[in-house]
């Protein structure tokens, strides 16, 4: 292998990747050199993670090429990428919780070693015996070697970590360090971190980014996938901005203003939508000082307050992972808050009420994670449609469920809400495409005129037509007098639909605007406080 100093450590060009016809990447390019920290910036769904998953061998691109040190590579799995010394720390850590730190690292190291050995065998015969010998050493001596390597790397990076501790006893920040050590011990020279600061406190984030600087100074190529402008401005040497699956710019973060970067991220202004002026009435939903904590004590929602009135859509904008999921789950009663109130007009405070106790209130819920919170994929469409109305006696008594009527009403609802791909009303809901499954959820939740709607990223992953349909339904609900809380990571959608917009960052509502609002100001609030 000839290494030309001019070639970047990692270069991706013309990369396209489609999922079920939806283009996640559309001719994107990116390159990182040795010795630099390179930020990859963009909104949720801009394609940052997808592009890096291509680099790390998780996705095979439909088009385009990956070059490592100038040599074209085609990875059919993450181990092949690791053998090329590319390591990725994913947003959701890939650790075996029951095993110790050292065992986790060894597990990764063994896999990479055997992969390298396989590669050597096909490349030349000389390396084979050495690699095989390395594989044959005993468990004890390997573990000892891994421990020494961990301690060595940890000391160099200033991590204090006990390699004997089981991973499940570690904090989120410590687990992240294990992931980084795992990559380094397996020989990674090109280190990709996907949203590494999203789950960390400010101090932890600063320390991590300083560590990455140290690594780069020692010759590594570090890729920082992030949405936080502050990380980028303070710690990156170069920045590549992605939007809608394309690379839109590559620049020096110190020579680019925040406003310019924000514009690159969120794009140009969207066309204004004409619709009836809001005629807000009473506050149907009032959230006061809502605070939620993760199991390890991290505050995912901090003192959040907002009001949604009848006849308006309140949009919560913000980059994903800033407490939106927790807000929606607290509102639906899935994860009770630590403190605060959720006051429903005419009902009272329901912050601590279980989902069962909330059933009679009649909140139309459109959660982001359909198959965790809304639909049972293995059950028929009719059952999924009927489940919320069975309790009211709409489909027979406690003793005898009238399945025929449920099927008839489900068929009518499915027709009315234009759910496509329903051959039989008894077919499992899981066979519907994403957009149609979402329409089924809306058909069910809007079966009786909605009064209060809680929708989380309702059009995520949907094609243009389905997306427009879903958004139309929300506007219809608003015009019929419902109070709609729209939590969305898609700024476009919030700008299009909302009458008022709150911006969430790190579990707080950091700004509130009345529509129409300048997207730049929202974009700034989204990234500045992050």
């Amino acid at each position: 292998m000839t290494v030309t100093t001019a070639a970047p450590a990692l270069a991706l060009s013309g990369v396209s990747k489609r999922f079920d016809g939806f283009p996640a990447l559309d001719g994107a390019h990116f390159s990182v050199r040795e010795g630099e920290v390179h930020a990859l910036l963009g909104e949720n769904g801009a394609g940052k993670s997808s592009l890096m998953n291509v680099a790390a061998g998780l996705y095979l691109p439909d088009e385009g090429e990956v070059r490592v040190d100038g040599v074209v590579r085609r990875f059919s799995g993450p181990l092949e990428a690791a053998a090329c010394r590319i390591g990725m720390v994913h947003q959701h850590y890939k650790l075996v919780r029951a095993l110790s730190v050292a065992e986790n690292v060894m597990l990764a190291a063994m896999a990479v070693e055997s992969q390298s050995a396989a590669g050597d065998r096909s490349a030349d015969k000389v390396g084979t015996t050495a690699s095989r010998a390395a594989l044959r050493t005993s468990y004890g001596s390997r573990l000892a070697r891994i421990r020494a390597l961990i301690d060595d790397h940890a000391a160099r990076l200033g991590f204090s970590i006990d390699h004997r501790r089981a991973v499940h006893t570690l904090s989120v920040a410590e687990q992240q360090r294990v992931e980084i050590l795992k990559a380094l011990v397996t020989g990674a020279r090109i280190l990709i971190l996907d949203e590494p600061t999203a789950v960390l406190t400010d101090e932890e984030a600063t320390r991590l980014l300083q560590t990455m600087r140290t690594l780069a100074a020692a010759g590594a190529a570090v890729v920082l996938v992030t949405h936080r402008l502050r990380d980028v401005r303070e710690h990156a040497d170069r920045v590549t901005v992605m939007r809608a699956g394309r690379t839109v710019a590559e620049c020096d973060p110190r020579a680019t203003s925040t406003a310019e970067l924000t514009e690159l991220i969120v794009g140009a202004a969207a066309p204004a939508v004409t619709r009836k002026a809001a005629a807000p009435g009473v506050a149907r939903l009032a959230i006061r000082n809502l605070t939620c904590r993760r199991h390890d004590g991290f505050e995912v929602l901090a003192n959040l307050s907002l009001k949604v009135r009848s006849g308006e859509i309140y949009g919560v904008a913000g980059v994903g992972g800033n407490g939106q999921t927790e807000l929606v789950e607290a509102l639906l009663g899935i994860e009770p808050p630590v403190s605060g109130e959720v006051i429903i007009d005419g009902v009272g405070d329901i912050a601590m009420a279980s989902p069962a106790a909330r059933q009679s209130i009649g909140v139309a819920a459109i959660p982001a994670d359909r198959y965790r919170l809304a639909l049972a994929g293995t059950l028929p469409i009719a059952d999924n449609y009927g489940v919320t109305r069975v309790a009211s006696g709409a489909y027979g008594s406690v003793l005898w469920v009238d399945f025929r009527r449920m099927r008839q009403e489900a068929a009518a609802g499915v027709r009315e809400f234009d759910v496509q791909g329903v051959r039989r009303i008894e077919q499992p809901a899981g066979l519907l495409s994403g957009g149609n499954a979402q329409k089924l959820v809306i058909a069910r939740e809007f079966a009786s005129a909605p009064w209060l709607v809680v929708a989380h990223s309702p059009s995520r992953g949907l094609d243009v037509r389905a997306c427009a349909d879903v958004q139309r339904r929300l506007i219809d609900a608003r015009e019929a007098g419902a109070a709609v809380l729209l939590v969305s990571e898609d700024l476009e959608e919030v700008l299009l639909l909302a009458d008022r917009i709150g911006v969430m960052s790190r579990g707080r509502l950091v700004a509130e605007f009345d529509a129409p609002v300048d997207r730049q100001r929202i974009g700034q609030a989204m990234v500045d406080h992050a």
């Binding site: 989902p355 965790r372 919170l373 049972a376 293995t378 059950l379 489940v387 027979g396 005898w400």
Partner: protein
Amino acid sequence: MRSLRRGRPVVAARRRMSAAFDAAVTTVAILAGLALSAFILVVAGVPAEELANEFIVNTLTDADNLRAVLAQAAPLAFVGVGAALAFRVRFWNLGLEGQMIAGSVAATAIALADVGPPVWRLFLMLVAAMAAGMAWALVPALLKLRLGVNEVISSLLLNYVALNFLLHLLYGSWKDPVDAFPHSPAFDPFERLPDLGWGLNAALPLVGAAAVFAAWLLGRSRAGFYMRFVHANPSVALAKGLPVAALVLTAVLLSGGYAALAGVCLSVGQEGRLTQAFFAGYGFSGILIAFLARNNALAAVVVAFLVAVLFVSGQSLQVFYQIPFAMVRLIEAIVIISAAASEFFLRYQVRWLR
């Protein structure tokens, strides 16, 4: 990349499956399991040409054998339907035998203490048995719902608690004073399940009614409709505000009650006294029946009948060919492993990639 050139099997998740395909795969799997069992029986010394005779012709055409099959089917159907009830809410009730013991101990206590007038005695015994079986099932159910304790372990280990309590009674205060054997004194005739003629006792109509009740509960009632969601996707059931804990408790308590009645069929119905091992093996059979019946109450009755055929044939093999009865358990195990393994082909398709 030499391995790529040679080709390799690739396993991919199956996107769509039809009920017909499901039934076909399961049938093939069960037949494969039976074929393997037949092979083992032949190796063990049963002449190959006699197999069909022993298993089908003799058991189903001979009146005595058919009576034995029906008598055997009743407790099997009770445990099978009981297991299916619990499985419908994703509660792996491995404590069926413990619940059988608890039920029979309670029924025996009523009989030995002569509670109530003789006309009501049997009814009281049945009620006590169900209550005790439910109580025994309540322990792992509450442990799971309140503390998150895995019911596989708690319900299984409670079997040993029940067994040792049973032995304590049979070797102690309940030892039969007549023959000094470690079993309870015989029940009075009015304390036994009444005969319906043709050598069959009241267990059969009882289990029929119980199965119909379970089929109605699971298939037609609102609770059963909700249980589908608890089974298919517990997090959705919770998010949609279904009373998940109450549904789990209902199904598990009924499961314990049905298991207790299975025990009663054996102790009060067949043996006429409380013995040391009346329950042995029924827990496993119950799981097998529920599994093969896909947790359908009426299908469980049919499967229970087939397992009873296997049991009775096993007994005759024991007599005629000195095949140990453990062979029946082995056949059961082979069939259940075959059926379980076939799930792989339902969920995935295997293709050869070059």
